[in-house]
């Protein structure tokens, strides 16, 4: 793969990753949130594969494979199951309305470009142009967590933030050691399972996964 093609492919797939993260901000239904997360993970798999082909690193193929199995297939499926068991709460009223969220996502992206400037200037990797996009995915994930009301959406926000970190690791270093990667994947899976247990507990106690209800805990 030539250098120019690789640079373009990595920018393109990272832009799509960011867009899928922002898609969560303008969609209104929980299934759409979960599907955007699955699609985002799929585009990260493509980004990892393109780096693997360019850098001829067989470990990255393995990472891409695990990523696909875990984040494109397994976790979305578990999320869908949790959603149907809890009872689909389709319409979500976020703290920040949709137009404002989308515009704030744009501001966060610009902030990511500003923050990542020194890293981009230091690096001479062909993927350096995409590093700000990975930062932006992390910021957008964080924004989803603080601006949405239901616990399930906040889990999706956390997973999106984690996706951004994984993308950053691949873009900035062409893959951390395999053992670390495995550890991160296990962390995500365990973290997710724990959060799912919490989700069911919240649902059992409050009859809703709206985290506003949890104010009652203060007394």
């Amino acid at each position: 793969m030539s250098l120019a093609v690789f640079t373009q492919l990595s920018t393109l797939s990272c832009s799509l990753v960011l867009l899928m993260g922002i898609a969560v901000l303008w969609r209104h239904s929980l299934p759409a949130y979960i599907d955007s997360f699955a699609r985002q993970s799929f585009f990260i798999v493509i980004a990892i594969l393109s780096v693997a082909v360019y850098a001829r690193d067989w470990e990255l193929y393995l990472v891409a494979g695990i990523m696909f199995a875990l984040k494109v297939v397994l976790i979305p499926r578990l999320l869908h199951r949790a959603r149907t068991q809890i009872g689909a709460e389709l319409e979500i009223k976020p703290y920040v309305n949709t137009e404002m969220s989308v515009l704030l996502a744009g501001v966060l992206t610009l902030l990511a470009y500003a923050v990542a400037q020194p890293i981009v200037a230091l690096s001479d990797l062909p993927t350096r142009g995409s590093i700000p996009l990975a930062f932006a995915v992390v910021f957008v994930g964080l924004f989803i967590i603080v601006s949405r009301r239901t616990a399930l959406t906040q889990i999706v926000g956390f997973l999106i933030m984690e996706n951004g970190i994984a993308l950053l690791a691949v873009l900035a270093t062409y893959g951390v050691p395999f053992i670390v990667e495995i550890g991160v994947f296990l962390d995500v899976l365990l973290g997710f399972l724990v959060m799912q247990v919490f989700l069911y507990r919240i649902r059992e106690t409050f009859d809703s996964i709206n985290v506003d209800e949890m104010r009652k805990l203060r007394h």
């Binding site: 393109l12 832009s15 137009e99 996502a105 610009l110 142009g129």
Partner: protein
């Protein structure tokens, strides 16, 4: 000299082909929905009928009401000379760049809203207020998405942008280019009053925007406005086609290249018209209060396009 001939021909082509394009979209839409549909030539017949009819003008109106159809039509003829439809570097390029094109488009919208308010009917005012809301949100996205391309090409001149893209075909698949395309497509839907935002085939009072403003027009005035709306659609589709898929645009002016360019232009616009019809068959109309959400997404696309081509070199 031949450059000026091409300019004149571009104007004639836009004026002549625009009603056919609207007819084509309607016809494909009808076929997709399982109806026979009117022939694609129907808009020409409608225009001839309207031009032959008496124009009734309310006594309450001022000169703006009678002036607007001519201004709208005229501004679109001027735009068709400024936009690279057939050949890329053209003599009128130095007269106006994308800023001029964007604001000429807005001038027509502005006067149409004024004309909607002028007779003092409730529908006209409602349509005008909705149109201005949408225009105010669509305009920044439109300007920013073309700026995204301009940054890549190093010039705000539309002809230069097309010429630069022709020299570097790989750039059409870059993230900035694709995001700008998505943004411009949404803006096109908003500006030309197509389905998710405005339904062009209904006069239902709850939903109409464009139709509400022109409710008081009749005869030749109505013909001119309908014609101008068709030209706007034609210009937007050919801008989308030529800015993002510039192949076929004549870089040198010779009879063969120009003929091929006309063929390519009509083919590309035809493909876009077919996809527009397919989109309109599958999409429901958006609630009015959700239109700003869609347009803020278009703005975000444009912003990301500018960021990815400008902030990282």
């Amino acid at each position: 000299m031949s450059g000026y001939l091409i300019e004149a021909f571009q104007c004639i082509l836009t004026v002549a082909a625009a009603p056919g394009l609207v007819g084509l979209v309607r016809w494909i839409k009808a076929r997709l929905q399982g109806r026979t549909g009117a022939s694609p030539l129907q808009p020409y017949r409608d225009l001839r009928k309207l031009l032959g009819k008496e124009a009734v003008v309310s006594t309450n109106t001022s000169w703006i009401f009678r002036f607007t159809p001519y201004l709208l039509f005229g501004s679109l003829v001027v735009i068709s000379a400024l936009v690279p439809l057939i050949a890329a570097p053209l003599p009128f390029d130095s007269l106006g760049d994308l800023v001029v094109v964007v604001y000429l488009l807005l001038l027509g919208t502005f006067f149409l809203s004024l004309a909607g308010l002028d007779p003092g009917t409730p529908f006209g005012g409602m349509g005008a207020s909705r149109e201005m809301t949408i225009a105010a949100l669509a305009e920044p996205a439109l300007a920013l998405s073309i700026f995204g391309l301009a940054v890549g090409a190093g010039s705000t001149n539309l002809g230069q942008i097309v010429a630069r893209t022709l020299q570097d075909p790989g750039s059409t698949l870059s993230a900035g280019h694709l995001l700008a395309f998505a943004s411009l497509f949404i803006v096109m839907l908003a500006e030309t009053g197509r389905l998710p935002i405005d339904n062009p085939s209904t006069h239902l009072e709850l939903t109409m925007i464009h139709e509400a403003m022109i409710l008081e027009y009749s005869g030749r005035y109505l013909a001119l406005i309908e014609w101008a709306a068709a030209m706007k659609l034609f210009i937007f589709l050919s801008l989308l086609a030529n800015l993002f898929v510039p192949w076929g645009v004549a870089a040198v002016i010779s009879p063969g290249a120009v003929l091929a360019a006309i063929g390519f232009l009509l083919l590309k616009v035809g493909v876009l018209a077919a996809s527009l019809a397919a989109l309109e068959t599958t999409l429901p109309k958006l609630r009015l209060f959700r239109v700003p959400e869609l347009l803020s997404v278009a703005f975000l696309f444009a912003l990301l396009a500018v960021a990815s081509s400008f902030l990282v070199r």
